[in-house]
Each structure stands twice: as C-alpha cells, then as structure tokens.
Assembly symmetry: C2
Homo-oligomer: 324 residues x 2
C-alpha cells in the first residue's frame, strides 16, 4: 500500500517535469533542440554518452552572454563612476593614463580603454581598501546605477533565455560557472541572487590581495597589482586553476571566449559549445565582426567550421529581457 | 491516506538519522560534543544562529589534518621520486639548489627544504609538460608509492575521524573545501575519491599555466614559475580568491593554519575552529612546538586563548587510520 502511493506520486512528478517547457523564452528552432538533445544525451543512464554528475561542468561568459554589454561594458561604467567619485583625492589622475581617458572623454562610448586598462583602473582606484569594503561599494552601485538607454538596473539587463538555460542545466545535475574577463570581486556580490551562481563558481580577472591583522582584526586588503586577466587564452587557464577539470559545455558571445570553447570541445565524449550572436537591433543591439565591444569574428568562423551552436537573438529568442 | 504513509516514512528516516552515530571513531569527549553542538545550532531553522546552506562553508588543511605528514610531507616524497627519475636529463641539478639537497641528502628525513623550495622543485621539474600529463604522473605515483613506516599507500594514511567529520558536515548542507600549502595539481587527482572533495573545492599552492594550440590541439602547459603559495597568510587569500566568502568552520593542525583560523573566526555569527594535536606516538606520531614538520606553537597558544577546539589524537580519537 505504501509503495503504491509512493509510485503514484513519483509518476506524477515525472509527468510534471516533462510537461513543462524548461526553455519557454526560446523559439523551437535549432539551438533549443540542440541544447535539449545534448542534455538528454548526457543524463541518460546506461547510454554510452552518459556523463556522471560531478563531470557536468558548464561555463558561461558574462558580458554579452548572460547580461548586455552595450554601449559600454557595465563594469566600465562602474569604473567611470568610481574614478569620478575618487578623483578629488587623486589630482594626479588628471594627467595619468588610463585615468585621464576616463575623466576627460566627453562621451562615455568613446572611452578607449583595453580590458587590461579597465582592470588596472579599478584595482588602482581601490588599492588599500578591504575586500569587505569593496563588496559594499559594488553592492551599493549595482543596486542603484541605471542603464542610460532604458533606465533599468544593470541586473535587469540579463537575458531571460539564458536564465532559463542556467536553471535547466542545474536541474539536470550541471554545476554552472561564470568565466568572465570582468573583475571577480565586481561580479561575486550579486551573481548568486541574479543567476543562482554562488561566489565560489565565479571566475574572473583579479587583483592581488594581502591578509593582515589591523588593530588585531583580520582583514584582506586589495593591492594595486593585477593578479590574473581572465580573458582569451586566460579563460582555459582560469578554468584549470579554479575548477581543475574541463567543462563539457561552454557558452560565449565573442572572440574573448574562443579559447574557452576550444578547450571545452577538445575533450573526449559529448561536448557542447554555443555562441550568442547579437543581431537584434530592435530588442537589444546588433554587432559582430567590427565591434569594439564584444567583437565576434574569429570565434564565429570557428563556430561555423566546427558546427558549434550559434544563437541568433532575433530568430531564436522569444524574449530577450525579463522585463519585456 | 497518502499523507499518513508519507508521515510514517519521514518519521522513520528521522529516527534512523539520529540513531546512527555520525562520528563513530570519535570518543565522547569535548571535541565531538563541540562539533555536534555547532552543527545542530547552525542547521536549526528558526534559531537565531541558523546559517543558510550556501553559507555553510568549511575549510580543511590537508597535511597533518586530513592525512599524515611524517616523517616528511608526502609531497616531498613525491618530489624526491620525481627528481630522481628526471635527474639523468638534468645534470645541472647536481650542483643547483634546492635540487642538490634532494639528490644528495642520504636520509630523506633530513632533506631541509622550505615549502616554497618544495613547490619550486616540483614546478621546475615539470615545466613544459601539460596539465593532463602531470595528472597522469600524480595518479601513477599515488596509486603505487608506499609509506616507509608501514607500507601503506599514502591515501590509506588518512584519518578515519576526519573522513567521518567531512561526511557529517556534508550531510548537514556544508560545502567542504581543502585549503592546503600542498600543490593544487598534486591533490586534485585523488581528493574526490579519497575525501569526497571534488577538484573545484581544492585550493592549494600553484605554478603559472599557459594555454596554447599544439599542432592545432588545445593544451595547458605548466610554466616554471610559482603562481601562488597557499600557506600561512596565503590561506585567507586563497580562500577569498577561490571561494569569495568567509568559511564558518575551519580545521587545521599547525601554525601554517593560524591565519585561516583567525579569518574564519573573525566573521559574524556562529564560528568553529578546530586544531588536531598530534600527541599519539603509538598509533601515529607525537610532535608540536619544536617540530620541523607541522610545527604547532603560536596556533596552539591562540587556540587556548580563544577557546578553539583542540583535538588530542590520543584521547579523542577511537581510531586513527581506516586500516586499524
């Protein structure tokens, strides 16, 4: 009798799980089918392509893959705000590169700093403060700063289809990681709430840190020195250092993700690589081969040559942002 | 009716969980009581000391805390074996420090190299090989090398009470991490099997890495340069870089763990710090304030001053090794 009831409730659960579409914001086009096919393949016990749960590692780029990155990286806007706020205490920045570029360029879109310079600015501007103080600075900024185009919070400018994809993978035993060129301490204060990705699964660029006792109280201080740049060939290295095993699925949108996709797909067994192509000028932005932000050129060619999944935001996504 | 049966089976499960002793290799002395009290406190919903699951982070030192470290660090024995195996290809090592110390000291116990030198030896000896090749070297060694005292595999020289503690914490929603001065790539190939700790939850000392395409195939190469030394003041830094939040419980055995324990216990809310004191000459080894390996001096004083839990292996552990 007990078994009878348990069997009934188990059967109901299974039916419910299959009946609900796990990716409702995706059109029923090739990318959605490819994702579902891959997940069903690696989770089917007894199949030759079955992958045990601990090896179900999926890595996601952040800028342009999980949230928007136009007209400038959101982290660059953070840096601009911080440099302006801190400039009175640093008169030397007026003439010192790259700070002077942030302070003197009239239009934000025209600020020409490299990823490395952006990290340098953020790290130098916050040298000597503790990691806890920096966390508070980020939390204050992320909960108030607004996007210039639509006045939304930056954490609202995330892609609804990708939120569903993250949840779908996790429901199927995947551990989801962010692997971003952005600052690790700039992302960690909000990724758990926004993406369901805890800080220990966020990999990014970083500055050096120092532990010390300050009046007997242990603190970790930010030093004015770059520790690691998690972009391009840095991404597989960041993955190796933090995760220590190769992902079986990786998701990106630009040439900065190419090496992560190469590393992921070169492993044995079933592999999945996906590139988000920004071709939706109406709902988002349209940019690729010649863009200064999120340039997609070599990675696109390789995606075509190697039959990786390329998502057209315009064709494959029913909805782009959660607020639509 | 359905609810009735479900209630019965849930009640049975709870009874079973309470009936079985989660720490059977611990004597019913103060440390065991302190551990159980802490776990029950932070997992009790509605209590003012309740800690949500994502924040239940516990960090463990490895050498001397999870496995033995006498008469020399097991990793030093690995380095000795590797240096001897590779010496014919490196005639320059005969006169070059620290290699010459490993090659010419007759008794292994007398090889005087610092943690930093040990990392240097391992990193330099394996420069230019891929991370996958190194993983194979470690797996081959760890599955065959034997401890000189009792002929056991090194992975059998782990502490049974600590294995039970790891499992007990995980059963209560904790995420368990290793934070060791040992090489991250020396530990990761076997920690999942031996401790149930996956590679992404292992933090250790590391060398720099480089991604490249070798004849079109992506590889990650080991470079002859130290990236990070995860010891002493490096431990809180390693924790911040990899986990990004402060542990609520930390476990160590020597002065190398002091800063990790300080950092852990200085956070708000309930905190737990434990030190394993090696005082069991009969079943294991006895050493503390004056030992070259695993020196326990300042951390012991601080443990007493701050009422951290100190485990006497002799008094508090019913069994030391699984093979007993």
């Amino acid at each position: 009798m007990k078994n009878f009831f348990l069997t009934i409730s188990a059967a109901l659960l299974v039916t419910t799980a299959f009946a609900a579409d796990p990716l409702p914001s995706w059109n029923d086009t090739a990318p959605k089918q490819a994702i579902i096919q891959f997940v069903e393949k690696v989770t089917k016990e007894g199949s030759p392509e079955f992958v045990p749960v601990p090896e179900r590692i999926a890595t996601f780029d952040n800028d342009g893959t999980l949230w928007a990155e136009q007209p400038i990286y959101f982290q660059l806007r953070f840096a601009l705000d911080r440099v302006k706020a801190l400039a009175p205490q640093h008169p030397e920045w007026k003439t010192k590169s790259p700070f002077n570029k942030l302070l003197s360029t009239p239009k934000e879109e025209n600020v020409a700093v490299s990823e490395q310079e952006l990290m340098e600015v953020i790290i130098t501007a916050h040298a000597g403060i503790t990691t806890e103080e920096f966390e508070k600075v980020v939390k204050d900024w992320i909960s108030t700063a607004k996007h210039p185009k639509n006045g939304k919070l930056y954490t609202e400018m995330v892609y609804q289809p990708m939120l569903e994809l993250l949840a779908y993978l996790r429901a199927n035993g995947f551990k989801t990681f962010i692997v971003s060129g952005g600052g690790i301490e700039f992302m960690r204060p909000w990724t758990e709430k926004v993406y369901g990705i805890p800080p220990e699964q966020v990999i990014g660029s970083s500055g050096k840190l120092k532990f010390e006792l300050r009046d007997g109280k242990p603190v970790i201080l930010k030093l004015p020195e770059i520790n690691f740049v998690d972009d391009k060939a840095g991404k597989p290295v960041g993955i190796q250092q933090h995760i220590g095993r190769r992902p079986i699925a990786a998701f990106g949108n630009s040439d900065g993700d190419l090496q992560m996709l190469q590393w992921t797909t070169a492993g044995g067994g079933p592999r999945f690589a996906l590139i988000v192509h920004h071709d939706d000028e109406k709902r988002e932005w349209a940019y690729d081969r010649t863009s200064r932000i999120g340039k997609l050129d070599k990675a696109w060619d390789e995606a075509i040559a190697k039959s990786w999944t390329v998502v057209s935001m315009k064709e494959d996504w029913k909805r782009v942002f959660p607020f639509e």
